[in-house]
């Protein structure tokens, strides 16, 4: 059966409405406050760490993002925590709130397809996330980078491109959590349940995954003490399991983009580093090649989660 008319008519309207909602909501103010407070903490730790390395490291501007002063996390580290929270906060009540406010049937009675509503809401969330992340990164650079700039150290092209690549990876990572939160908002009619489900998954990957990985690895591929190659295999299996978590994928992508000296994400044999110059940075293209699978996996997860949410939403009864 063929349906007439574009599935996308009305998407623009939905995006604009949702964007306005997202950016003016009280929820957003709270998140901004959270970001500001954690940001201030990270700034303090960064300044201490960067000071020691100026003049020794060619990518000072990237350092602003990655260096940390224990026990506080780096800017990137705290983004790794914050992005999922922001994304879940943007998506957990996307669909169920329309049902709870009893606006769903009225909106769907307008000449649009359901596709437009779901796609519009998702894109609006993604744009909000992108705006927040870009603004945050720009602000961060402005505050901390200005000092370095005044010293007469302009950022080079490579640094700028790497920064942008990082931003893309961060948005894809946020997209995973946004799609997950929206999936839960389709499944659970109660917004609180959907939010809790999203946070539970986040908790699993943020804290428990790294504890689970060694246990599972040892069960699946225990190293054979008489076969040194099997130890390598254990490490590989462990990394594969660890990469089921979007957090791992994101942190590896971040590592490759923001620490140009990273040459490999897995174990490296001494034969493989023979003849290489220690600490020499990789060109951006090579860094990109290294984490291309990670980026693809993040994107694929976004698409997969969105498709599941889409199918479930299409089959849902409109009546509340």
């Amino acid at each position: 059966m063929r349906r007439e008319g574009s599935a996308l008519s009305g998407v623009g309207t939905v995006i604009l409405k949702e964007l306005a909602d997202n950016l003016t909501s009280t929820r957003m103010r709270l998140l901004e406050l959270l970001i500001f407070v954690t940001g201030a903490g990270a700034a303090y730790s960064t300044i201490g760490a960067v000071k020691d390395q100026i003049g020794e490291y060619p990518f000072v501007f990237l350092l602003i993002f990655t260096s940390a002063h224990e026990p506080l996390p780096s800017f990137v580290g705290f983004l790794g925590f914050l992005i999922p929270i922001v994304a879940i906060a943007l998506g957990f009540d996307a669909v169920n709130s329309e049902f709870n406010r009893r606006t769903m049937s009225r909106i769907l009675a307008q000449p649009i397809y359901r596709d437009a509503l779901l796609i519009g809401k998702f894109l609006a969330g993604l744009i909000t996330l992108a705006v927040v992340l870009s603004a945050l990164s720009a602000l961060w650079l402005l505050v901390l980078g200005l000092g370095i700039l005044l010293l007469g150290l302009p950022p080079n092209t490579d640094e700028v491109l790497r920064g942008l690549a990082f931003l893309v990876a961060a948005i894809a990572y946020g997209g995973v959590w946004l799609a997950l939160a929206m999936l839960f908002s389709v499944i659970f009619r109660s917004a609180a349940t959907a939010a809790l489900a999203g946070l539970a998954v986040w908790l699993l990957f943020a804290f428990f995954w790294q504890m689970l990985v060694p246990i599972v690895t040892m069960a699946v591929a225990p190293p054979d003490p008489y076969d040194p190659i099997s130890a390598l295999r254990t490490i590989d299996v462990g990394m594969d399991i660890s990469r089921l978590s979007p957090n791992t994928l994101f942190s590896e992508a971040t590592l490759a983009f923001l620490s140009p000296t990273t040459r490999s994400l897995g174990p490296v044999l001494s034969s493989q580093v023979q003849g290489s110059i220690r600490g020499a940075p990789l060109p951006l293209g090579d860094s990109l090649m290294m984490v291309w699978p990670q980026l693809t996996a993040l994107l694929a997860t976004v698409i997969l989660l969105f498709v599941i949410a889409y199918v479930l939403f299409q089959r849902q009864e409109v009546r509340a």
Partner: protein
């Protein structure tokens, strides 16, 4: 039936083994006010959703203004306005902002949006509160805002699900007045309700629904005659002994019930003079006598009791 604007043919919706709507045939003509009547859970809302293309029928088909809601839902939804049961709006936005959103979704040209919204809002009498957030609106105001939305779309058809649910009598009266004025403009209106009095006063034709099946369909007066076998009801207030027999003896009296000194007499004709005479002759004190209308409520009760007994 050449003028039928809403057509359902053998429309069926099953949820697993439960059948919500069972082979429904319906033809509603242009400019008609049509009432779908039935208890909660009779399949009224499901029927409406299928007509609008918001739910897929299990079998059968529907046509709205010549379009198939299944394949051409956008065309259907462009021509039909829908007011759901317990309609909701975005509470933090004003009435105007809510309508502006749906206006854009309906693809109304940008230049016309504001003038159409203002006209619609003035028509339903919300001009003074239109700029206020919807959370300050009463139930009745929300319903009227929903009607304004239908007016703004310049829909040919208005489909209203339980339009007076939860309204107080005053608000109900105003709302019915609004529906009548829409009819006057030539809009076709399909409304569902379990409040029979309401439907009786505004609908041209009604369909009685029960358990997914269409029981009776026709003009209100015809139904009254067909089911009750006579549309005359006389309310009599009188005192005295032995009035029962005296009244029953009047030729043409079919049934009679007494409640607190008030007699409710069903007759084949307007027998007020005969009954008054009978009361006086029996030595009773006649306090008042009036012709009442048999209400749809009775048709409904009687019809569905019959259905239940037959089952």
């Amino acid at each position: 039936m050449s003028d039928a604007i809403i057509i359902a043919e053998q429309l069926t919706k099953a949820y697993g083994r439960a059948i919500a709507v069972d082979h429904l045939d319906l033809a509603i003509e242009k400019g008609e006010v049509f009432g779908l009547l039935g208890p909660n859970g009779a399949g009224k809302t499901t029927t409406i959703l299928m007509l609008l293309g918001l739910t897929e029928p299990t079998s059968g088909r529907a046509r709205i203004a010549g379009f198939d809601p299944l394949c051409q839902p956008l065309e259907v939804k462009r021509r039909a306005g829908y007011m759901p049961d317990q309609v909701g709006f975005y509470d933090n936005l004003s009435g105007i902002a809510n309508l502006r959103y749906t206006a854009r979704l309906s693809g109304i040209p940008t230049g016309e949006i504001d003038s159409r919204i203002n006209a619609a809002i003035a028509r339903v009498g919300l001009a003074e509160v239109a700029a206020k957030a919807v959370k300050t609106y009463s139930r009745g105001m929300r319903q009227r805002l929903a009607i304004a939305e239908i007016l703004m779309k310049q829909a040919q058809i208005a489909i209203l699900d339980e339009p007076t649910g939860g309204l107080d009598p005053q608000a109900t009266r105003e709302f019915l007045e609004l529906i009548r004025s829409l009819k006057h403009d030539g809009m076709t209106i399909l409304l569902s309700s379990h409040l029979l009095d309401l439907v009786q006063s505004v609908c041209d034709r009604v369909a009685l629904f029960n358990a997914g099946r269409l029981g009776l369909i026709g003009r209100v007066n015809d139904l009254l005659r067909d089911v009750l076998g006579g549309s005359h009801v006389i309310r009599l207030e009188a005192t005295g002994h032995g009035l029962d027999e005296a009244i029953r003896a009047v030729p043409g009296v079919k049934r009679m019930t007494v409640e607190g000194g008030i007699f409710r007499i069903e007759t084949t004709d307007d027998l007020r003079p005969d009954i008054a005479r009978a009361v006086v002759r029996a030595g009773g004190g006649l306090i008042s006598i009036a012709a009442g209308h048999a209400s749809l409520e009775e048709v409904y009760t009687q019809y569905f009791e019959g259905v239940r007994d037959a089952a």
